[in-house]
């Protein structure tokens, strides 16, 4: 059916902040080709969980395994193969669209793929424009354009649909679909409705893995 070893294995993650237990024994597995939506009300710990998964935050206890190995022991390998898109996108407003995209995608993408990414993100006409002149939605799409150039295995997307219109949302879904067909996996957090086939969901109020669709 799928790989023997899951791509990502999360075991008993607990996170306590200032005497408050934000995450209590989170357990799930991610196979390649999965798109996992983390659900939960605002403040329920969705961003915290994603940050723990990207190792930006250290959990109070628990383990994360990538392809069967503890992340703490294969840090370079793991971090080279993940992509994180957070609430703030890392777009530098004083630089142009092309400069930002080049930085985010590693400055070594082939010219035609780069142009294709700009086209899908509807930013071809703005390639040389400084990002501070763009609208909020367009700025988001600059960051999202890197999804088309990324070679990462696992994507962690925190509220990817923020500030996007219908076309933007479709673009994100299309990117995720392409990614999963190539064998990658996505963990995204959003309280909006996600329309995708075979979407898995994970709710932070009652952390029991569910399947949708």
């Amino acid at each position: 059916m799928r790989l023997n070893k899951p791509l990502l294995s999360v075991r008993d993650i607990v996170f306590v902040r200032d005497h408050e237990t934000v995450l209590d024994k989170i357990n799930f597995e991610l196979q390649s080709g999965d798109v996992l939506q983390v659900q939960g009300a605002n403040g329920s710990g969705k961003t915290t969980l994603l940050r723990i998964l990207t190792t930006a935050l250290r959990p109070t206890s628990g383990d994360i395994l990538y392809s069967g190995q503890l992340v703490s022991q294969c840090r370079f390998n793991y971090l080279s193969r993940i992509l994180f898109l957070g609430h703030q996108t890392g777009v530098k407003l004083s630089l142009s669209v092309a400069q930002n995209l080049a930085w985010m995608s590693g400055q070594n993408s082939a010219a035609d793929r780069f142009a294709e990414a700009l086209k899908v993100a509807a930013l071809t006409d703005y390639a040389r424009v400084a990002c501070q002149k763009l609208s909020a939605g367009q700025q988001r799409r600059v960051a999202l354009a890197q999804l088309l150039l990324s070679e990462a295995d696992i994507w962690y997307l925190d509220e990817p649909y923020t500030a996007l219109d219908k076309e933007g949302v479709e673009m994100v879904n299309k990117c995720m679909d392409l990614h999963r067909k190539r064998g990658g996996a996505v963990v995204l957090s959003t309280h909006q409705k996600v329309t995708m086939d075979s979407l898995r969901t994970f709710s932070l109020m009652s952390p029991v893995l569910g399947a949708n669709g």
């Binding site: 930006a56 370079f76 994180f84 004083s94 590693g106 890197q146 990462a152 295995d153």
Partner: protein, 227 residues
């Protein structure tokens, strides 16, 4: 960033320089402050040459110190607020390299112009002619120390609003040895003594700071920025 590229020292240095280029006005203002403050000194204490030349090395160093503190505030907080810092934290590259790149960019934009300006400042304050070279050499090494130590303060106060005063309070005690040895270099030069001696101490401090400060900054950023 998900690709196995490793953005190291040079990438961050060049990027920060490019970003500074887009903020030329903001970047130049501490240096303008330096110039204006230097002109206030003779206005405040009297324009007699002997008086000015006796205090010129010390005054220039104190002003260099204040200028560095003024310019360092946004070093990490800009990246923190637009999400770049988090990307730095989760990149496979060890955090010390980007930090060193950014601090070096800060030095290129603040300390280096300061060093190059210093003969002019010496002129304004009647620095004796023997003092010009030691002043410039001392500042070249010393402003490196100042940038490194200021980056520690900047890292501790990244998430805080209006942190300029707190940053100054934190970094001032750490600056004491730098200003002591730094101004001694120039003063020795003026007095005709061997200014290589305090310069050696200053160089040793720069080496120590170069080894320790980026490590401290990386640790501080990891522990205190994402919560």
């Amino acid at each position: 960033m998900g690709t196995p590229h490793a953005y190291g020292f040079w990438a961050y240095l060049l990027r920060d320089l490019s970003l500074a280029n887009h903020r030329r006005g903001e970047v130049a203002s501490p240096l303008v402050f330096l110039l204006m403050a230097t002109t206030f000194i003779p206005l405040g204490i009297g324009p007699q040459s002997e008086l000015l030349s006796s205090i010129a090395p010390g005054i220039i160093w104190v002003l260099a110190l204040l200028t560095t503190l003024l310019s360092v505030e946004g070093l990490f907080s800009r990246d923190y607020h637009d999400g770049s810092l988090e990307q730095m934290l989760i990149s496979p590259q060890i955090l010390v390299m980007p930090v060193l790149g950014k601090v070096t960019a800060h030095w290129v934009v603040t300390g280096l112009p300061l060093t190059l300006f210093s003969p002019f400042l010496g002129l304004l304050l009647s620095l004796p002619s023997d003092g010009y070279l030691p002043l410039a050499v001392g500042l070249a090494l010393g402003t490196g120390c100042l940038s490194l130590l200021a980056s520690v303060g900047a890292a501790l106060t990244v998430t805080l609003q209006q942190s300029a005063l707190l940053l100054t309070l934190i970094v001032m005690p750490l600056y004491m040895p730098v200003i002591i040895f730094g101004s001694s270099v120039a003063q020795y030069g003026v007095d005709g003594l061997n200014w290589m001696e305090p310069l050696a101490a200053l160089g040793a401090m720069l080496a120590l700071m170069l080894a320790l400060c980026p490590l401290a900054v990386a640790g501080i950023l990891r522990l205190t920025t994402i919560n």
